[in-house]
Structures are given as structure tokens and as C-alpha cells.
């Protein structure tokens, strides 16, 4: 079954994190924090705290590789005598110091500068730019330099080579040093330094993690073998380093011919680069870095560089043990995902020897399983097996695990989700890019009805791993992790461009596919085999592909992709949703056939809408509660960014599967939306509450909260809580699990709405009250039924009780409606009377005669001989108010035993007679035939069961007056009357069961309302008396339903008030923190003082701002 619409809804938010989210947040731009994290591939915990323009200078020995390869521009930056200079932005987050020459990379605004657009190169820097992403814990020392030209210059020494740095007394050899000049006002610079200082202090705690993570990096091993390193330490007794796990390739060989791939040369170049520019955590990106990646990474280093460029390294650094912990935590447990994984293990890159072995298959199993636990929304999706298998050739299990997280969450958003919306969306995007860039080919495809996406989908879904020979797919991955998702599009476009001629000859899917298949098979051949020029001849087809992809399609930037995604998102999601809905509706079982497809569609929407909104409200309320709890120790930055750390950085566990089950409260809300009798008479949440919340939406923008949804019932009407609704719920809950699935709800509706047969409607109602299913409803049940009838009818039925409802009827004078309502009321009183009249005593022999005789005269306290409970023949009588209800009030004194002291003696005799019927000592019951007879004896009730009841559920065109105040609903029987009911003070009412108190002075309407409420009170009172009697006689199990109900109602009120307070408190504190941060008068001063001191000290050549000797 596909209950996916909610998933889709939720998924929208993640479809492209840098995109605006459709939703309550009206801000169309992605948050700055998101952009920042994406640019530097940082975990979700990081937020941009400080930002300043700066120039990075790398000490002279760095220049060797940095500038030698460069031939164009930037010359004036690079060739200053001191070394390499890069101007860019320096950023500080909680745990990172980042620098980039490129303003952006993943950013929406990321487009290549005009000058570089035609070459498709950012001067070798790639979209990630030159710079670094330094974990603060990797910084060993920051010194402030005295400088003529710049007010602030910092010299940063890193823990480069930290993992083998234990025995390195004062060695400066591996101590990497970089200089940064800050260009900003003194205040800016000082604030930056102050932030940095704080971060560095915090960072000390992370050093152990860093050591552990870095020790698994191949670069450490590579450099430790390095002659330089050994020499400088001169410690010959050091035991040889263990070779870190660089994937299955270590054991089963890496794909391809190492010599042909020039692996040794590449390693040599990298060793040089790493020695000068830092390794793993301390790596600095200079132009050579991007070039070395473009030519293909060497086997053993590939995993580490993938980790670094994709940012999964930082996830691992943050929680190095997560992978092992996850496996341990869930060991032995089973899941659907695990079953699915198991099926695919044997067909994941089966051509690679490693995956024909238990070792390789075991690794693959563990990584996929661990990930499926951390992200249950994704779980396992076919194609992940192929991607992970590929990763495992080059990296350890733990590394692959985190890289998979980055793939699913950031690089391939929504690709592997339950609906695969990301896959479908990117296919749509790809098609539109083809249409734009290759219109002739596009037309050709359209004309021949070749659907491009069926061909290109596997390219994207498995990152070309399954389409190209492995060695080439890995080259694509090298660039993909560095430059982002746009690479997939560029490669795809280039494939089509290169094969354009042949594709224009293909007229069907088959030919189209085989053209591309044979192209992929010959990627290693010369692109220009017949060329005279040997250099040209040496160019392989794959090289040609890369050139076309990154030069010709250089204009395809991340920005292009984002724009296209947002353009097509709506349509794609709509398609998925309607598919999911169709599927779901078709799978609702045979009962559902009794409802129209339109009704089913309505129920589907409404059902999930309620579940979804309730979930949202829960989250928001929980969020608030957490916020309250955390407020004290919350980091100021979280308040500012509106982003709390409870956003899980790995796998978004919080997303979870969307709800498919509706509990009783949800059911009430659901009913309130489609039946007006299900709306409460006594709303417990005053509308002001909502308004109140509006003030506090300062964090609403980022948490997507809607101020109005904070009321426990959202923006909809507050539902009633009547016993009838409980019974309906229980009846529909056929699986007896205390919740309803869509299937339950549809089946339930099919039963009440799907039959036009009055007989089955009557039995349905009867069965609702036949608790033990013995075909009898006892005295208590009869009263409950009449209560329910009053409950259901208390707001009248719009035009449904007359046999031929017409539009005209709806608009007719209030009198006619009143008439009908009166009729209903009297019918119910007649119903009660008749029920008792025709009831069977439980013990047949017992008192039959007497009961029958008494019952014959029983007319519920009526002191005339009218058949009906209430005489409404003259509703406009001059003395309206007390007179009619009097008839009812006389019933109240009914008591189990006739009392001579009864003050209302005139009716005593009758009451006594009636008492026999109500006497618990004379148990009686009605059977279905009796019930049927009683119903059919009354025209109004007959109509009610024929059509009124089922019509009271309005599935379509059912705009409930949700925003009309409930109080005005209460006092009216119809819309027409609602207009009259605007009397101030109306609607003071209490009681969950709809016991209304109506203010006087409302004339006819008021009287009528009184009658109804009195009628209900009567029924309630009768029941109460009976309960009392039963309790007195100690034989009743007691009917405490009502008491409980009241109790619950109060409890809820209490909670609600508490909730309101909570909100207040939270906001109060939050605001305080904001205040602190924005204008901390005390601290600000301190900073200033320190700044002054700092400057004084800076007179000396180099004064340390902060130094850690670890």
C-alpha cells in the first residue's frame, strides 16, 4: 500500500535544501546557515557565526606546486615573493574555521563569473574555490602578528600530522603554518578573534576524536613513510605504521590497470602536495588540488579525498564511533530493509572479485544495514547496493557509511526515498536541460516517442557506476564529490552531445539504448583514432567526455540545477501524489466499492490531512517543550539561527515513516471536519490563544510552524467528545488496535454512507449499542441511543429530514426549519416512550403484566394526553419560556423508588408508573425488531435513518463553518438561525455531552434551544438517577462514562492552559537570549577592554592571542 502523500509533503522540505520550501515560511530564500553548511560541506550542527574578508598567505615552500602549473590570471595574487596569496572570505562556525576564494559553490547564487563562463573553469579552483576547512580542534596555535599593512594578521599553526605527533617535541617540521590577514574594521576583527578564541577553547575537547579519525586516513600513512618525516624525527625504533583500511581494493586489487592509470605517478604528486598543504583535516586547497582530482585520484587515496571533498569526513569526525555503535545497537534485529538488502547482496557489482567473496558481501551488508537503521525513512533502496559497493572498493566500512549519509541527505536528495521523488525530479530537470541545450535531439526524441528518462535514470540513480566501466565511473565520482550534483547533469549532457549524430538516427528505445551501450563500452578508445596529430590520437573518449562535460556545459551550475528543480518540483510531486492516491484508493478492499471514487478521494485527503497536521502540531508543541527545557543552557547561536542542534546530522532519524494510523482524538478531529454534530459546543481553547501565539513566531520561520496550528486542534473546529463518537470509533476499529487505518475509515464510511437501505442503517445503529452482541439493547442502551439521537440532531439537519430536500428548503423561512427540529425532538421523546412500551423484560415471567400495564400509561411526565414528550403544538404561546420545558422538568424527579416527599406531587402518579420502566430491578431490553418497529413508527426518525444520518457526514463540498465561533453554532439549529443568534453572551455552555445553558431572552429560538438542551439533560438525568440507584443497591458495575468524560475534559483544559504558559515562558527566555547576543552590554565592554590590551601587546613583534600546547 502506498500511504505516501505525507511522505511527499514532508519530502518537499528536503527536496533541495538550498531551495525555498513551500510552506508556511514565506521566506523564499534558503537560510544563510544552510548555504554556509553546503558551501563548506559542514554538518548540520554548524552555523555561520562570523564572517570577514581576509587574505590567506601560504608560506613560500607551499608555492612549489601551487603556482607551477598555473598559466593564467591570478598571477598578481600568486607571485608575490612571500608565497601564495588568496583573497576570500574567512568564516567561523562553532567548530570550524573555513576559508574560500569562491563566494559560493553549492549556493544558489553560485554561478561562474562572466570571464570564466566560456572556459568552464574557475581558474583551476573549481566551484569549491581555494582555501581550507579547518576543524578548530586541528589548530594548534594562533598567533597575532604585527603587521604594517593590515590591522590584524593571524598566524595559524595546525596539528598537521597529529596522529603520529606524540613524540615530536617542539618539532616545527610538520607544523603547518598559514598566515591570514583580516580586512575589516577593528571591531569586526576583534569580534572575529574573540569568537575564534572561544571556539578554540571548546575545540580542545575534540582533539582525541581528531586523532582517532585522522589515524584512519591513508595520507597519514603515506607521509609517515615519507623520507622527510622519518628524517626529522630520527626515531628508528618506531614500529611501522599499520596500513589503514583503504577498501576492498587492498585485498582484491583496485579496478583497472594501475600502470595504465599511472597510479604511482599520481601518488607521488599527491605526496608532494600533501606534504606542503596539509593532510586530511588540515588540507588546504590550492589550484593543483583541483587539477589532481580532475586527472583521477590514485587508488589508495581515493577514499580519503572523497571523504574530504564531500564533507563526510566531518560527520565522521563529529561522531567517529557511530557506525560501530549503530551496528551493535541493532545487532540481531530484523527489518524489511534487511530482507531487501539480503536479496541484492549477490548482485551488487558481481563482476568485481571482492563481491564474490564473503568478506566483500559482509562489508556491504553491514554498511547498508547500519544506514537503514539510522535513516528509516530511506531504509534501503535498490541502487544503494551498487553505490555502496563501489565506495567499499576504496574506503573502510565506516567511511562508506558516512559518505552514504552525505549522498542521501545532501548530494542526492530524495533519490532513494520511499517515493524516489528526487530521482523523478532530477530526471525531469535533466530532460529540460536537454531540451534547452540540444533542441534538435530533443525534438527527435519527442517525435519518435523515445523517453529519455528511462535511459538516463540509471545514470543518476547509481552515479554512472552501472553504466560505464568502473574505472571511468570512479573518475566521474572524483569530480562529483568535489563539485556537487551538477556534475551528473554535465556528464549526462555530454554523453548525449557526443553521441548526437547517432542518436538522431535512432527511432526507438532499443536503438537508443544500444548506441549508448556501445559508446560506454569504448570509452577507453581514442576519441580521434584517425587524426594525424599523435596528441589528438592519444585523447581517449573518456577524456573527451570530461572536456565536453566541463567546458561545453560549464554553464550548468548548481544554480541552474536548483532553479530547474524548483520549477519542476510542483508537477513532479503532484504526479507522485496522485499516483500514490490512486494506488491507495484501489487497495482499500471490496467495501470501499460502495463509495464513489470522488468520496474515496475526499476521505483519503481528509484522513492524511488530519494525520499530517496533527503530527505537525505535535512536533511543534514538543519542540516548544524541549525549547523550554533547554532554554537555559541553549547556545545563543541556536536561538539566532533558529536552528537547534536536535536536527540529527546523520540520516535524519527524526523524519521517520509518516503516520498511517489515526487515534481517537484524530478521529474526533476528522469527524469534526465532515459532520457538524461532531463539533464541540464548549470549545476549550479560546480563539485569542492563536492570536497570542502570533507574537512568538520569531522562530517560526525556521521551524516551519504556523502560529495558528499551535492550538491542539489546529485551525479547524474543536471536536466534541461524545460517547457516540467513541462507539463509532470502536466499531470502525475492526483490528482492535485502538487506531484506525484509512482502510478502517473507508470501510466504516461505506457502512454508514454506502447503503441506501434503511433497514441496514437501523441495524447498524442498533449494533452500535448492542455491546455484547446478543441482539438486545438494555434500558441503559435505550437511553444512550436517545442521547445519541439528540446529540446528532442538536444542530439540525440541513434539508435532509424532509423526504425531498431541495435547495429551496435550505433557504426557506426559519419557521419551517424550526418546525422540523421540533418534530425531531418530539420524535425522540416518543422514541423513548415507545421503546419502554415495547421493551421485553429480561425475565419473561417476571412482572410482565404489571410492567405492561404501567408502561401503557407511561408518557414521561407528560401531564396531558399528548403522545409526545413535548407539546409543541403552540410554540409561539404567550408564555413560552418556562412552560414547555416544564413538561420536561417534571421528569427529573423520577426516582427509582416512589417518594412521598416528592415536591412535584401532581405528576407523582405518572412518575411512579414510569419508574417501573426505569427501575433497574426490572431489567428490560429491546431487540432489533422492536427497535426497527419503533423507528418506523415515526416518520421523522424513519427519515433520519433513511437518509439523515448518512447525510450528516458531508464528504464533499463540505466547508464547515470552522471559523464561525462554536458558540453560535451551539445555539442554533440551522444556518438561518445562526443569523439570529448573535446575541452577546451567547454560548456560555458546559459539558462535553452537549448540555447547553442558554441565556434567556431569545424568544422562540431560545425556547427551542432550551427544549433541546433540556431534552438532553433529561436523558442525562435519567441515566444519572439510574446510576445512583444501581450504586445504592450495590449491584451495578456502574456507568461512569460520563464522569470520566467530564474529568477528561477538565484535564484537557488544564493542559491547554499549561501549554499556553509554556509558550510564554519559552518566548520570554528566548527573547532574553537574543537580547544578550545582540547587545551584551557587559560582555561587550569586556571584549573591548581585551581588545585594547591586545593592541597594546601587539606592539611586541608577535603576541599570542591564544596558544594551546597540547
Amino acid at each position: 500500500m502506498f500511504n505516501l502523500s505525507n511522505l511527499v509533503q514532508k519530502a518537499q522540505q528536503f527536496i533541495d535544501p538550498t531551495l525555498s520550501i513551500t510552506g508556511p515560511s514565506s521566506d523564499r530564500r534558503p537560510s544563510k546557515a544552510t548555504l554556509f553548511r553546503h558551501q563548506f560541506r559542514l554538518p548540520e550542527t554548524q552555523s555561520p557565526l562570523q564572517e570577514i574578508t581576509a587574505e590567506l598567505t601560504l608560506s613560500p615552500h607551499h608555492s612549489t606546486r601551487g603556482s607551477s602549473g598555473e598559466s593564467t590570471s591570478h598571477a598578481q595574487e600568486r607571485d608575490r615573493p612571500q608565497g601564495n596569496h588568496y583573497v576570500g572570505k574567512l568564516h567561523l562556525s562553532e567548530q570550524y574555521l573555513c576559508f574560500s576564494t569562491q563566494g559560493s559553490s553549492f549556493l544558489n547564487t553560485a554561478s561562474l563569473s562572466a570571464s570564466s563562463a566560456f572556459t568552464g573553469q574557475t581558474h583551476g579552483a573549481g566551484p569549491a574555490g581555494n582555501g581550507f576547512i579547518l576543524p578548530l580542534c586541528a589548530i594548534r596555535r594562533v598567533e597575532r602578528l604585527h603587521s604594517q599593512s593590515y590591522m590584524f594578521a593571524l598566524a595559524i599553526t595546525t596539528w598537521n600530522g597529529v596522529s603520529d605527533g606524540k613524540a615530536k617535541p617542539g618539532s616545527a617540521a610538520s607544523g603547518q603554518k598559514l598566515t591570514i590577514q583580516l580586512a575589516g574594521s577593528r571591531i569586526q576583527c576583534e569580534r572575529f578573534c574573540d569568537g575564534l578564541k572561544r571556539g578554540l577553547r571548546e575545540g580542545v575537547r575534540e582533539v582525541e576524536n581528531l586523532r582517532a579519525v585522522v589515524s584512519e586516513c591513508y595520507s597519514e600513512y603515506l607521509l609517515s613513510e615519507d623520507g622527510d618525516d622519518k628524517k626529522s624525527h630520527g626515531n628508528e625504533d618506531r614500529k611501522p605504521r599499520e596500513h589503514p583500511d583503504t577498501g576492498l581494493g587492498m585485498v582484491f586489487k583496485y579496478p583497472g590497470n594501475a600502470r595504465k592509470l599511472r597510479d604511482a605517478t599520481k601518488i607521488r604528486l599527491w605526496r608532494e602536495y600533501l606534504r606542503e598543504n596539509g593532510r586530511s583535516a588540515t588540507l588546504i586547497r590550492q589550484p593543483t588540488f583541483h587539477k589532481l582530482i580532475r586527472v583521477g585520484l590514485p587508488n589508495r587515496l581515493r577514499g580519503e579525498i572523497w571523504e574530504l571533498t564531500s564533507g563526510s569526513f566531518f560527520l565522521r569526525l563529529q561522531n567517529p564511533k557511530l557506525y560501530i555503535q549503530t551496528l551493535t545497537k541493532f545487532s540481531g534485529q530484523e527489518s524489511l530493509a534487511i530482507d531487501e538488502i539480503e536479496k541484492d547482496l549477490n548482485r551488487s557489482l558481481p563482476e568485481y572479485p571482492g563481491f564474490q567473496s564473503e568478506e566483500g558481501i559482509g562489508r556491504l551488508r553491514r554498511v547498508l544495514t547500519a544506514y537503514s537503521w539510522t535513516n528509516e525513512e530511506v531504509g534501503y533502496c535498490q541502487a544503494m547496493n551498487i553505490v555502496v559497493a563501489a565506495l567499499l572498493i576504496y574506503m573502510s566500512e565506516s567511511q562508506a557509511f558516512f559518505l552514504l549519509s552525505i549522498l542521501c541527505d545532501r548530494l542526492l536528495p530524495g533519490y532513494y526515498s520511499q517515493t524516489m521523488y528526487g530521482t523523478l525530479l532530477d530526471q525531469r530537470v535533466f530532460e529540460s536541460l536537454v531540451e534547452k541545450t540540444m533542441p534538435i535531439l530533443w525534438d527527435h526524441l519527442a517525435k519518435n516517442d523515445v523517453q529519455l528518462s528511462v535511459v538516463s535514470l540509471p545514470w543518476f540513480l547509481s552515479l554512472y557506476i552501472n553504466s560505464m566501466p568502473l574505472i571511468f565511473a570512479f573518475r566521474v565520482l572524483d569530480v562529483f564529490f568535489l563539485e556537487g550534483p551538477k556534475v551528473l547533469f554535465q556528464i549526462g549532457l555530454a554523453i548525449l552531445r557526443i553521441n548526437g549524430e547517432e542518436l538522431l538516427d535512432a527511432t526507438d528505445d532499443g536503438t537508443f539504448i544500444s548506441v549508448l551501450k556501445s559508446y560506454f563500452a569504448r570509452l577507453d578508445e581514442s576519441a580521434h583514432p584517425r587524426s594525424e596529430n599523435p596528441k589528438l590520437r592519444a585523447v581517449t573518449r573518456f577524456q573527451e567526455l570530461m572536456v565536453v562535460a566541463f567546458k561545453e556545459f560549464a554553464g550548468i551550475t548548481q544554480n541552474t540545477i536548483s532553479e530547474q528543480r524548483s520549477k519542476h518540483k510542483g508537477a513532479v510531486l503532484e504526479n507522485i501524489e496522485s499516483f500514490a492516491k490512486r494506488t491507495s484508493i484501489r487497495n482499500l478492499g471490496p467495501e470501499s466499492k460502495r463509495l464513489s471514487v470522488i468520496d474515496l478521494g475526499f476521505l483519503y485527503d481528509r484522513f492524511y490531512e488530519v494525520l499530517y497536521e496533527r503530527q505537525q502540531r505535535d512536533e511543534i508543541m514538543q519542540h516548544e517543550a524541549e525549547r523550554k527545557a533547554k532554554a537555559g543552557r541553549m547556545k545563543a547561536t541556536e536561538v539566532v539561527s533558529g536552528f537547534s542542534g536536535n536536527n540529527p546530522e546523520v540520516g535524519r532519524v527524526a523524519l521517520g515513516p509518516s503516520p498511517t494510523q489515526m487515534d481517537y482524538d484524530g478521529f474526533r478531529e476528522f469527524l469534526a471536519g465532515i459532520a457538524k454534530w461532531a463539533v464541540t459546543d464548549s470549545p476549550s481553547s479560546p480563539p485569542e490563544l492563536n492570536g497570542d501565539k502570533q507574537n512568538h513566531s520569531y522562530f517560526g520561520g525556521s521551524t516551519r510552524s504556523r502560529s495558528t496550528t499551535i492550538s491542539p486542534w489546529g485551525s479547524g473546529p474543536e471536536p466534541a467528545d461524545h460517547e457516540f463518537m467513541k462507539r463509532l470509533f470502536r466499531r470502525w476499529d475492526t483490528d482492535m488496535n485502538n487506531t484506525l487505518s484509512l482502510q478502517n475509515v473507508v470501510t466504516g464510511f461505506a457502512q454508514v454512507k454506502g447503503t441506501k437501505d434503511i433497514m441496514s442503517n437501523i441495524s447498524y445503529f442498533f449494533e452500535l449499542y448492542d455491546d455484547d452482541g446478543d441482539g438486545r439493547v438494555d434500558r441503559d442502551g435505550i437511553l444512550r441511543i436517545s442521547e445519541a439521537l439528540l446529540f446528532l440532531s442538536r444542530r439540525g439537519f440541513e434539508g435532509n429530514l424532509s423526504p425531498s430536500p431541495s435547495l429551496h428548503d435550505l433557504a426557506t423561512s426559519p419557521e419551517r426549519r424550526e418546525n422540523r427540529d421540533e418534530q425531531f425532538l418530539s420524535s425522540i421523546s416518543a422514541f423513548i416512550r415507545r421503546c419502554f412500551e415495547y421493551a421485553d423484560p429480561d425475565h419473561a415471567a417476571n412482572q410482565v403484566r404489571q410492567a405492561a400495564a404501567d408502561l401503557a400509561s407511561f408518557s414521561i411526565g407528560s401531564d396531558n394526553d399528548s403522545e409526545d414528550l413535548v407539546d409543541l403544538s403552540d410554540p409561539a404561546s404567550p408564555k413560552p419560556n418556562p412552560s414547555s420545558p416544564r413538561l420536561l422538568h417534571t421528569k427529573i424527579p423520577l426516582s427509582p423508588t416512589p417518594s412521598t416527599s416528592n415536591p412535584l406531587s401532581p405528576v407523582k402518579a405518572k412518575a411512579t408508573a414510569a419508574n417501573l420502566a426505569l427501575d433497574p430491578n426490572n431489567p428490560l431490553h429491546i431487540t432489533l425488531p422492536t427497535f426497527r418497529m419503533v423507528i418506523l413508527a415515526d416518520e421523522v426518525l424513519e427519515t433520519f435513518f433513511e437518509s439523515g444520518f448518512s447525510a450528516s457526514f458531508r464528504l464533499l463540498d463540505a466547508p464547515q463553518p470552522s471559523h464561525a465561533s462554536s458558540s453560535s453554532n451551539l445555539t442554533t439549529f440551522s444556518n438561518a438561525a445562526a443569523r439570529n443568534a448573535l446575541a452577546p453572551g451567547a454560548g456560555a455552555s458546559v459539558g462535553g455531552a452537549g448540555v447547553g445553558v442558554v441565556p434567556p431572552g431569545k424568544g422562540l429560538r431560545g425556547m427551542l434551544d432550551n427544549i433541546v438542551s433540556d431534552g438532553m439533560r433529561v436523558a442525562a438525568e435519567v441515566r444519572r438517577r439510574m446510576d445512583e440507584a444501581q450504586r445504592e443497591e450495590g449491584e451495578g458495575e456502574g456507568e461512569k462514562g460520563h464522569v470520566e468524560e467530564e474529568g477528561e475534559e477538565e484535564g484537557r483544559d488544564g493542559e491547554l492552559l499549561e501549554g499556553a504558559e509554556t509558550a510564554d515562558v519559552v518566548v520570554g527566555k528566548g527573547a532574553g537570549v537574543v537580547g544578550d547576543l545582540l547587545g551584551p552590554p557587559g560582555e561587550g565592554k569586556k571584549e573591548g577592554e581585551e581588545g585594547v590590551k591586545g593592541r597594546q601587546r601587539s606592539v611586541s613583534e608577535a603576541s599570542k592571542i591564544l596558544e594551546f600546547e597540547r
Partner: protein, 249 residues
Amino acid sequence: MADSGATSAPKPSSSVKLVLLGEAAVGKSSLVMRFVNNDFQENKEPTIGAAFLTQKCNLPTRTIKFEIWDTAGQERFASLAPMYYRNAQAALVVYDITKASSLQKAQHWVAELQRQASPGIVIALVGNKFDLASANPASDTSTGGDDADATATAEEEEDVDGESDARKVPTKTAKAYADEEALLFFETSAKTGLNVAEVFTAIANAIPETSLKGPRGVGGQTNLGRQEDSARVNLTGANVQGPKEGCAC
């Protein structure tokens, strides 16, 4: 791709796009393997999205080249299905006779195709894994769909108490449904090959001439749209049995 369908006489040849739909593990890929390679084995090829294969089918008057899209197994790939059945002229909706829920799923796919796919699409309902139903008279296994139905239906009566029979979907039930919806209906076994070629032959025969235009030429889809009525009329199970000429496989 087996090109055994090369014929001596120049018969008109046309392409038919066929899509396989059905719950995971009912044997879609196995049926295709049987039809294309006359082979039965564990599927070693990882299928991403859908696998594409072709096979020719020789009819007395023409040659049909099936372009087969075998959709992926996992449930979540179902939302990609519209991409594959778009403009398909034929569909094989497969269920597993040993799994009742798979027929329900098949019914969903039929409804989906009827509502969303090309109007003239020829749909065959296929109950696979016939070999798992007990006491299959081996002699009947080579007969066409309707004959197989008859025998299976007879068995069904005595299978009520289960014995060792893994069958969960009575032939009657599925056949009645297929008749109601005017689908071709077969029970097959990819394992033994029973009825596999027959399914494809029947489909080839049921494709209306009018929707065939060379190797799926220009405008093929619009033709499909217009011919819906005539196509539907022909689709009752009995009518299409026609010539029992096997496919070239």
C-alpha cells in the same frame, strides 16, 4: 539479443513496446528471461529502474519485435512505473499463484493501466509459478491458456483442504476477473516454460493492425489513442487465441 526471428520472406515487421508490471518476486524477470533466452536462472543483473530487452515474435502475416521493459522489483520503484508504461502498447501484469496479495496488486496495475496508459493497450494477466501448484497433469502443460485454465479449475475443487499445494489463487477467480476486464489470461511457469511463448504470441495477435506502423513509426501513439474501441472489442480471451504459432524463441 536473439535475432532468430530473421525470416525468409519479407513480412511486415513492427515494434511493440511491452511493459511488465507486478509485485516484487512474482517472476517478471524470469518470464522475460524465459521468453528472450529460453533460460531460467537467478537474476544476476542488478536492475536499476527497469531492464530493457528485445525479442522478435513471428506471426504468419507479420513479425512483431517486442521492446520489453521489465520494471524493478522494489515497492518504491512503483512510482516510477508511469514512466515505463507511458505509450506502451502491451502490458504483462504478473501475479504469483502462490501469493494471494499479488493478485490484488495485479488488479491495481490493471486499473492503473486502464486509466492512465494508452487507451488501446493490450493487457495480459499472467499467473506465474504454475509449477508450484500440485498435481499438474504434465500432459496439459503445453496447451494454450484456456486449456490450462480448464485443468487448473478442475484441480481447484479438490485443493480446498490444501494438502501440499502451494496455490493460493484459484484459476477461476483470476479468470473471472480477467474476463470481466477483458484481459488476456494465462497461467505460466517461467521455470518449466509453460505458456510463456503463448502469452507473447497472444499479445502479438491482439495488437490491432492499425496501431502498428513499421518499426513503431511516427504517430504510433496517436493511432493507439484513436483505435481504442476496436481494440477493446477484440480482447476477450477466447477471440485472440487464433493462430497458435509460437514465437521465435
